[in-house]
C-alpha cells in the first residue's frame, strides 16, 4: 500500500501514446507505481498542441494550452513519457500565454516532468522488482526536446543500467535530430529521409538490434524508415523496456 506521503502523479499520456502505442502509457503507470507514486489519468486530456504550435498556428493552440493547464494544474506532479510534450508544457505554454494564464502556465511548468527524469531525479527509482528478460544490444536515440529542453541524457541510461542491467551501446551523433520534427518530415521528406538514414546508419554501426528512446514521434519515424528499408531493427519506447514489456510487437512490427 502507498504511504500517505506518496507522490501523487497525474499522467500526461501524450496523443501518440494514446493513439499509436498505449503500451507506453501503461508501462509509464507501472514504473511510476513501482517508484511508490499514486497515479491518476485525467480523462479529458487529448494533445499538448505541438503540431499546430510548431507550425506557427499560435492562435489555434492557445485554447488547447489553456484546457491542458486547467486539467492538470491541480496535480502534485505531471509526468509525460515524452520530452517534447513535457517541453511544450514547461517552455512553450509560458511563451504562448500572457498575464494570469502565463502565471498558471509557469506554475504548471514547475511540476511537470519527462518520465525518465522524474523517475531518476525526483522519485529516485533505483531497482526493478525482477529483471525480466535479458535484452539484446541496445542503442539510445536522444530526442532533441528531451535532451535540450528537459535535460534528459543520463537518466534513461541510468535506469536501463539499474533496472534492466543494460549498458547502452552509444551511437555516433546520438544527439543529432532523427529528421522527424513533427510536420517537418512531411513538408521536407527528402531532407528528413537523409537525416533518418544517418540515424539508422549510426544505430546499426553499434551492432545494436534494438533502438530505444523517450519520444514516440522520433521512434515512429525511425521505425517507419527501418521498415521501409527492410532493416532488422527493433524499435521500442524506453518505458516499455524499463517495465519489462517486450512481448507485444515492436513499433511498426506486424502481429
Amino acid at each position: 500500500m502507498n504511504a500517505p506521503e506518496s507522490p501523487r502523479v497525474s499522467l500526461f499520456v501524450t496523443c501518440l501514446a494514446d493513439l499509436m502505442r498505449p503500451s507506453v502509457a501503461f508501462a509509464s503507470i507501472r514504473l511510476l507505481e513501482q517508484a511508490g507514486c499514486v497515479v491518476d489519468v485525467p480523462l479529458q486530456q487529448t494533445c499538448c498542441g505541438q503540431p499546430g504550435y510548431n507550425s506557427g498556428e499560435y492562435e489555434a493552440t492557445i485554447p488547447l494550452a489553456k484546457k491542458t493547464i486547467e486539467l492538470f494544474e491541480h496535480a502534485e506532479y505531471v509526468v509525460a513519457p515524452s520530452g517534447s510534450c513535457a517541453g511544450m508544457i514547461c517552455h512553450h505554454y509560458p511563451k504562448l500565454l500572457d498575464g494570469q494564464w502565463r502565471e498558471r502556465a509557469l506554475a504548471l511548468a514547475e511540476k511537470t516532468f519527462e518520465l525518465t527524469s522524474f523517475l531518476v531525479d525526483v522519485v529516485k527509482l533505483e531497482s526493478a522488482p525482477a529483471i525480466t528478460t535479458s535484452l539484446p544490444t541496445v542503442t539510445y536515440h536522444d530526442s532533441c526536446a528531451g535532451l535540450r529542453e528537459m535535460g534528459v541524457k543520463e537518466q534513461p541510461r541510468k535506469l536501463l543500467k539499474n533496472l534492466c542491467d543494460v549498458d547502452v551501446s552509444e551511437m555516433q551523433q546520438s544527439d543529432v535530430c532523427c529528421g522527424f520534427g513533427g510536420t517537418f518530415c512531411a513538408k521536407m521528406p527528402d531532407i528528413s529521409e537523409k537525416m533518418v538514414d544517418d540515424k539508422l546508419r549510426n544505430a546499426s554501426s553499434t551492432g545494436a538490434t534494438l533502438l530505444t528512446g523517450g519520444d514516440l514521434g522520433c521512434l515512429l519515424n525511425i521505425a517507419g524508415r527501418a521498415r521501409r528499408q527492410g532493416l532488422d531493427l527493433e524499435v521500442r519506447h524506453v518505458a516499455e523496456l524499463l517495465s519489462g514489456d517486450l512481448y507485444s510487437p515492436a513499433i511498426g512490427e506486424g502481429e
Binding site: 496523443c15 498505449p22 506557427g56 498556428e57 499560435y58 493552440t61 535530430c177 521536407m188 521528406p189
Partner: protein, 473 residues
C-alpha cells in the same frame, strides 16, 4: 545578390542527389562540432563569457544611437570618412564613387558577407573595375562563378580535384604540378600577391566597430584582410551599423567567442585593429580610409521582435551544427546567409514570401541555439516566422486548416476521443498484420519515405476507461 530561396526544396533534392557532396558535408558535420566543443571546453568559463557578451551586445543595441554617434565621432576624428547607406545599392554606389574618384582599376577584397549581400562585386565590375577576392575560399568561389556555401568556409563544398581543374583553367601558368592542397594554396598565393601589390583600393569588412576609440577589428587566419587594409592607397571598410560595441575589450571578448565557435581555434592568426589613414609617423598604410555603415533593414530588425538576431556575430556555428544544413549545403538556401541564422535573416532582409521555405527548414531540434555564442533563440524565431507566414496566408491553406482543425478537435475531448477511437480501430484492423502502411491518405509526405507504423490496438483512453469500469464493478 539574386535570391533563389523559393526553390529550396528542389535545391535540396539536387544537393542530396550528389553523393560526393553529401559525403563531404557529412565529414564537416561530424568534425566541426567536435572541434568547437574541444575549444569551448578548453576555454573554461565559457558560459559566463557567453552571458557577459550577450549582456554587452544587448546593451549596445539598446543604446545603439549613443554608440553609433560616438563611433562616428571617434572614427571621423581619427581621419576616416564615415558614410551611411540605407540600401544595398547605396553602399555599392558609394564604393564605386570612391574608386572612380581615385581612378582605380584594381580592387583587392577581403572576406565580407555584407558585400555578398549587396552584390558589390558585380556592381563594381559593371563599373569597369577589376575586383579580386583575396580570401582563398572567396577567391575559389569567385573564379568558379559561384557564391559562398558557408559564411566562414566559402568553398568548403568544393573538392581539391575541382579546385585543381579550376586553377588549371583560370591561371595561365603552363604545365605544372598541382597535386596537393599545398600546391593549390601556393598557386593562389602567387596569383594574389601580385594583385595585392597592384590594387589601388582595398575593401574589407569588420568584425567589430569600437565606439570609444573609433577602431575597427578584423579577424582572419590568412592575413589577406590585413594585406587589403595596408597595401592599397585607399581602404574601404564595408560593414553594418549593428557591429558597434562600446569598448575595445568588448570587441576582444567577442573574439574569444567568435573564433572558438567558428573554427574551434582559440583565436585566429591575425587580429588587427585599424584606426584610420596613414600619418606622418607611418611607414605605410592607406592614404585615405572610408567606413560605410549599411542599414539594409537592420533598423527594421532592431524595431521588430527579432532584434535578438542583431546579436549574431557570424561565426557559422549554427550552420555547422544544423542537420538540415549538413544535408543540403549552403547553396540550397538560395541567398547569402544559409543555415539557421540565414533562415531567420533572409526573410527579414528580403521578404517572407520569397523565403517561404526557409523558416520551415527546421525540426526545432535546438542544436543551433545550444551552441550559438550569442544565445540567440533561433528555433523560437523560426517558429515565429512560421506564425507570420500563417497569419499572412503564405502557408498553404490545407496545412493551416488541417492544423487548426486538429487543435479545435483536441479542445473537445469527447468528440476527439470518439473520432480517434474509430479511426485508430480502422487503422489497427487494416495494419495489424503487416505492422505498417506503405501509403496512407493525407500522409503522403510521411509515407513517401517511410512506413506509417500501425497503431497497437484500441486507444489508451478506450482501454483505460474499460479497465477503470471493470475495476469499479
Amino acid at each position: 545578390m539574386e535570391q533563389h530561396s523559393q526553390q529550396f526544396k528542389e535545391n535540396a533534392a539536387n544537393a542530396l542527389a550528389d553523393a560526393g557532396g553529401v559525403a563531404q558535408r557529412d565529414i564537416l558535420a561530424l568534425f566541426t562540432p567536435i572541434m568547437r566543443d574541444a575549444a569551448v571546453a578548453e576555454f573554461g568559463p565559457y558560459e559566463a563569457l557567453r552571458q557577459h557578451v550577450k549582456r554587452v551586445r544587448q546593451h549596445s543595441l539598446d543604446n545603439l544611437d549613443y554608440y553609433l554617434a560616438r563611433f562616428e565621432l571617434e572614427a571621423t576624428n581619427n581621419g576616416n570618412q564615415v558614410h551611411y547607406a540605407d540600401s544595398a545599392d547605396e553602399m555599392n554606389s558609394i564604393v564605386l564613387d570612391i574608386c572612380q574618384q581615385h581612378g582605380a582599376r584594381k580592387v583587392a577584397k577581403g572576406k565580407s558577407m555584407v558585400t555578398e549581400e549587396t552584390g558589390l562585386n558585380d556592381y563594381l565590375q559593371r563599373g569597369g573595375l577589376q575586383v579580386m577576392e583575396t580570401d582563398l575560399g572567396e577567391y575559389i568561389v569567385q573564379q568558379a562563378g559561384e557564391t559562398p556555401s558557408h559564411i566562414v568556409g566559402p568553398a568548403l563544398h568544393k573538392t581539391r580535384d575541382q579546385i585543381r581543374e579550376l586553377f588549371l583553367d583560370k591561371h595561365d601558368l603552363g604545365e605544372r604540378e598541382l597535386e596537393s592542397i599545398s600546391d593549390l594554396v601556393g598557386e593562389a598565393r602567387v596569383v594574389l600577391r601580385d594583385h595585392f601589390l597592384q590594387a589601388e583600393v582595398g575593401i574589407i569588412g569588420s568584425n567589430a566597430l569600437i565606439a570609444e576609440n573609433g577602431y575597427s577589428m578584423l579577424v582572419t587566419n590568412e592575413g589577406n584582410g590585413d594585406l587589403c587594409a595596408n597595401l592599397p592607397n585607399v581602404l574601404i571598410i564595408c560593414t553594418t551599423l549593428d557591429r558597434v560595441l562600446p569598448r575595445a575589450e568588448d570587441a576582444t571578448a567577442i573574439q574569444r567567442l567568435l573564433v572558438r565557435s567558428a573554427t574551434g581555434q582559440p583565436h585566429t592568426c591575425y587580429t588587427s585593429f585599424y584606426s584610420g589613414p596613414r600619418r606622418a609617423e607611418d611607414a605605410d598604410g592607406p592614404l585615405e580610409t572610408h567606413i560605410i555603415l549599411l542599414d539594409n533593414h537592420r533598423t527594421d530588425i532592431l524595431a521588430s521582435d527579432y532584434s535578438d538576431m542583431l546579436r549574431c556575430i557570424r561565426c557559422g556555428s549554427c550552420l555547422n551544427h544544423c542537420p538540415i544544413f549538413a544535408a543540403t549545403g549552403g547553396h540550397a538556401y538560395g541567398w547569402v546567409y544559409p543555415g539557421p541564422m540565414g533562415s531567420v535573416l533572409t526573410p527579414l532582409l528580403t521578404s517572407l514570401e520569397a523565403s517561404a521555405a526557409l523558416p520551415n527548414a527546421c525540426t526545432s531540434c535546438g542544436r543551433c541555439a545550444e551552441v550559438c555564442p550569442s544565445a540567440i533563440p533561433l528555433p523560437d524565431m523560426l517558429r515565429d516566422l512560421r506564425h507570420e507566414q500563417s497569419v499572412e496566408k503564405i502557408t498553404p491553406a490545407s496545412w493551416r486548416q488541417g492544423l487548426r482543425l486538429h487543435a479545435w478537435l483536441a479542445c473537445r475531448p469527447g468528440l476527439y476521443q470518439f473520432l480517434t477511437g474509430i479511426g485508430i480501430a480502422v487503422m489497427h484492423r487494416i495494419g495489424r498484420k503487416k505492422g505498417g502502411f506503405r501509403s496512407l491518405p493525407l500522409a503522403g509526405g510521411w509515407t513517401s519515405k517511410r512506413d506509417f507504423p500501425s497503431p497497437q490496438g484500441k486507444t489508451f483512453m478506450q482501454q483505460y476507461r474499460q479497465r477503470s469500469r471493470s475495476n469499479e464493478q
